[in-house]
């Protein structure tokens, strides 16, 4: 595609290149140093500091059984988070969009306030809630302090305001006639939800599930705070522990390799679903900035 040649176009391209540089450089560094003995800036070098030093040994961590356990944990966290968010928000979103029950407006404005509410400030109190759940027999073993279940439950809760809001929006877009016809034919609200409505919002469900999976797969703060064997819990905490360890001299190649290992699924998802995700992010991503 050809660009117009005028000063303003040139200026735009230049501005974008300059400001985007840190992102590009950061990514380049990650890819290069993954396969290098060490790097000077972006230049891969061998032990003596000469250009070269291509190696695969940074990936040796894949041979340790630990990493697969950690990966499994991360995967479970992301998967259960996704399932929970999908189920609960599509139920609530449907009711808020289609059922005229008392308190509907209250719930709607509450969802919006919670959506803007900075949930990280509640971590201290949530710690106490988890401690309390731990003391309940059975439930405590599943969802208490220091369990993946507990971390999943908190993550679901914090994701809900966004999820409900999105699902409500998608249900709002489904034609009334379809549902009305089903209801007149004697379909119950539950069957109507499951058999008529849910299939209509598949794109929305897909977008929300990808977003939730990525959030769970990347999440750091909640597992770090509520899982005591923190450093070996999930990929994020494992990498963080290696980054901040004072004792072992840090080998950046290995850090980069682990980072890339965690990043690959995210990049794959992103390349296929960029358009959907843009929509979700503008709906207001929560947490982070």
């Amino acid at each position: 595609m050809k660009l117009k040649r005028d000063n303003f176009t040139l200026l735009s391209v230049l501005t974008l290149i300059i400001f985007t540089a840190p992102i590009i450089l950061g990514y380049l560094w990650l890819f290069i140093s993954t396969f290098s003995e060490r790097t000077y800036g972006l230049k891969p070098v061998d032990v003596d500091g000469n250009l070269g030093g291509f190696t695969l040994k940074n990936w040796a961590f894949l041979a340790e059984p630990d990493i697969w356990l950690i990966t499994l944990n991360t995967f479970l966290l992301a998967t259960f988070l996704t399932m929970g968010v999908l189920l609960i928000s599509s139920l609530a979103g449907y009711a808020l969009s289609r059922v005229n029950f008392r308190g509907r407006k209250t719930f709607l404005s509450m969802t919006l306030i919670l959506h803007a509410f900075p949930s990280v400030t509640l971590l201290i109190a949530i710690y106490f809630v988890l401690r309390f759940i731990s003391d309940i027999p059975l439930l405590g073993a599943l969802f208490g302090y220091n369990t993946i279940g507990g971390v999943v439950l908190i993550s679901i809760a914090l994701q809900l305001p966004l999820g409900i809001w999105l699902m409500k929006g998608f249900f709002d877009g489904v034609s009334w006639d379809l549902e009305r016809a089903a209801l007149i034919d004697g379909c119950s609200r539950w069957r109507c939800w499951w058999q008529i409505m849910v299939p209509q919002i598949k794109p929305g469900l897909a977008a929300l599930s990808i977003f939730s999976f990525m959030t769970g797969w990347s999440s750091f703060l909640i597992p770090y705070t509520f899982l005591t064997k923190g450093n070996k819990a999930v990929l994020s905490t494992y990498l963080n522990a290696m980054m901040s360890s004072d004792t072992v001299s840090i080998q950046y190649g290995i850090l980069a390799a682990i980072g890339l290992f965690q990043l690959i699924p995210i990049l794959l998802f992103y390349s296929f679903t960029q358009k959907y995700l843009m929509k979700i992010f503008s709906g207001g991503s929560h947490g982070g900035v």
Partner: protein, 304 residues
Amino acid sequence: MEKEKRNLTGLWFMLPAIILVIVFFFIPVIMTIGISLTDMSSVTGFSAWKWVGFKNYIKIAQHPDSITNFIATLKYVSITLIFFNVGLGLLIAIATNHLKNSIGGFFRAAWLLPRITPPVVYVLMWSMLAADAPYGVINQLFRIPFGLSTTNWVPEYAFLFIVLVNGYIGASFGMIIFSSAIESIPKDIMISSLVDGASYSQRIRHIIIPQLRWPLLFVVTYQTLSLLTSFEYIMILTDGNFSTEVWSLWSYHKALNNYWGNFQYGFGAALAAVLVVVGTLLGIIYMKYFRFDALVQEPKIDEL
């Protein structure tokens, strides 16, 4: 009767969400305030604590770190907000909008990368950009070739880097909101302004910016709140060292995570409670002024 049943159906659909919201939002808000009125810490444990009234809040007022951390927070929030979340977001939105779609689209896609990259990996990238010579990318590419002195950037310019790390994520939010606002300006107006002889910069000033007043306000409100309370990236990058201990991180450190293992739940909760109050107020304002009109539409289905 019919209405009764409808109310019940609605509540059944809402039930799982209601339970989670109560357990992980409502109870924690009340508990945060409650704990902030006690002297609970790892010394008192969970049983030997007692109510102390507003002592923790008085302690905040007298604490030597309060002013420092407050100013750090204020600086961090305002600088990141103005220069990155709004300024840079707007700049990228205008620039990518001016370019043809494919190139603009490439840059927009690149700008979402910081947001989707796992936080720890993202911070790892930044700390390698900033690392000491000979490893760091900044030193290798922009200092050594020009014969300039090298340095270990993060400790040296810690504040700048927490702004950069968070700003590069925040900018994409503004970028998306502003981009879609610019795209919704009718094409005729955009073209006719140029036909009438306006320059590109005049078009930005007189056509694009006035259209963005509402999105600008939205981004400012929304991002103030998230910047005020997000500390995850700062914690990974500097852990509050080099005077980057913002208020929310301070609270987290005091109550849940510090080297000495002396967790002051009461004091930490008081610090958090300040943010909870600010957050609730801003949240209510946010709800009042944005999008509420969109909610008022009633479900038509129930009048069959």
